[in-house]
Symmetry: C2
Subunit: 257 residues, 2 copies
DNA sequence: GCGATCAGCGGCACG
DNA sequence: CGTGCCGTTGATCGC
């Protein structure tokens, strides 16, 4: 049961020395900024990271119930008289907008306060991202359709948001949108927009193919209505790699000869 | 510097008694499931909540670098010989898919381990959500355009995914999509889809209005190209409420008489 | 339970 | 910086 003053010093010290501070206690949380919120009394975990990240966690759910991102200015103050006082930890942040947002955690009591030195330069390596699947597919578009050829970005002109731009055996443009999970209506509208934009810019007949492991019934209907296509992508991820199952199959077939 | 065995007991005890466990130490993290990932050695904070939530936090950024949602089964085991061993904390979860995903945290050393009782029944009250703004607007559609009337089955309850469905002074259908922040291309494609679906289902001339505090240049161009409309929504949030500035203005105007 | 959408989304990469 | 879009998105609401 640390005192408010001890807790205040732990937070200040953590901020000064680049450590991570952890506080557990009963508190009320107020937020005002892009929206506003009020969280009444309860026990929570407060995490204050050295980059200004500020997380209030409840006893359930993954997401912090209130938070502030990196760059927030965190302060701690003991307010009110002895015995009736509280520890107020505040995080302020400037919005790109110019306005500011503020979160205040009012601790009525504390179970625990401590700060920790956290040294960590490691970066997460992820396998099975959409980008990676897209690159794997690009390496062999014949998997989707024989004769499909990728179109290289012309002299520095970025296609931007289109995953894969290709040309079919008849010379038609093919816009390919890859999704790593079940594709819904949003994926179809996205593809439809790319196809529409591409057809308008290039004034050329353009096909659109949605590539995903699954597609919802509504999304499939909409695809058909718009004359777009679906290709089922089976893939699997394991620790040092991601693999498209079709490519594996193809390898086996080649191996049979 | 708790021993691995002490730490294991803290985790097990926390799980058994519904407490939240906090561990700080040097670890390696492996994940395999919807994707796969590897995070090499570094100091991190591990949070294990009583609902199975499992969060690995680095010293920076808001999001957990590795995680598992509510419902995960968490276990802890000491592996390897004395002196060379490690504490392995594992979270397993069944995907809706049927497959399972797993995250393993291998602690090589520990700075801190403790569990805390967290009692919290409070729910966050948020002001300024899109839903709330939509309801405020619905209460007085004349703000957007004189003669606009909401079409609703039940008072205040909106149907389906369309934010607001209304009828203008000429009896045309009006689909209104409300965004609480700057609207981009996705908002426009979404609105376009609703308008297209509505027009097709009702076989009736249909307008579409995008309502947002701002709109990106590209989105505005696309709106115009599709014959859709934009209405700038100014609002402000403060702690017990959200207010649409236009409505405030209108109140003042009425008060002037 | 699945489907669709919002979120104070966060984060990243590109212009 | 803004714009666009992915994310092991998560969380919620409606069917």
């Amino acid at each position: 049961m640390p005192s408010f003053e001890e807790a205040r010093q732990v937070v200040e010290n953590a901020l000064a020395t680049g450590q991570m501070a952890l506080l557990v206690g009963n508190c009320v949380v107020k937020y005002e900024g892009r929206a506003a919120s009020k969280l009444s009394e309860g026990d929570r975990l407060l995490v204050v990271k050295s980059d200004g990240t500020f997380l209030v966690h409840q006893s359930r759910k993954m997401n912090a119930i209130n938070y502030q991102g990196p760059g927030a200015a965190v302060t701690a103050a003991v307010e009110g008289g002895v015995g009736t006082g509280e520890l107020v930890v505040t995080a302020r942040r400037k919005l790109p907008n110019g306005a500011t947002e503020k979160i205040e955690v009012h601790f009525r009591s504390l179970q625990f306060t401590q700060s920790f030195p956290i040294n960590d330069d490691a970066e997460l390596k992820v396998f099975g991202s959409e980008r990676q699947l897209s690159d794997l597919l690009m390496a062999d578009l014949n998997l989707i359709e024989p004769g499909l050829k990728p179109i290289q970005k012309e002299s520095g002109v970025r296609q931007g948001t289109i995953d894969i731009l290709a040309e079919d055996f008849r010379g038609r443009l093919v816009v390919i949108e890859v999704k790593r999970r079940t594709a819904g209506l949003d994926a179809v509208t996205q593809l439809a927009r790319y196809v529409e934009e591409m057809g308008r810019r290039k004034d050329r007949q353009t096909r659109g193919i949605l590539v995903a492991p699954e597609v919802t019934p509504n999304a499939l209907k909409m695809l058909e209505r718009q004359g777009l296509e679906f290709f089922k992508l089976d893939y699997e991820v394991s620790n040092p790699s991601a693999k498209i199952k079709g490519l594996e199959k193809k390898q086996k077939m080649l191996g049979e000869f």
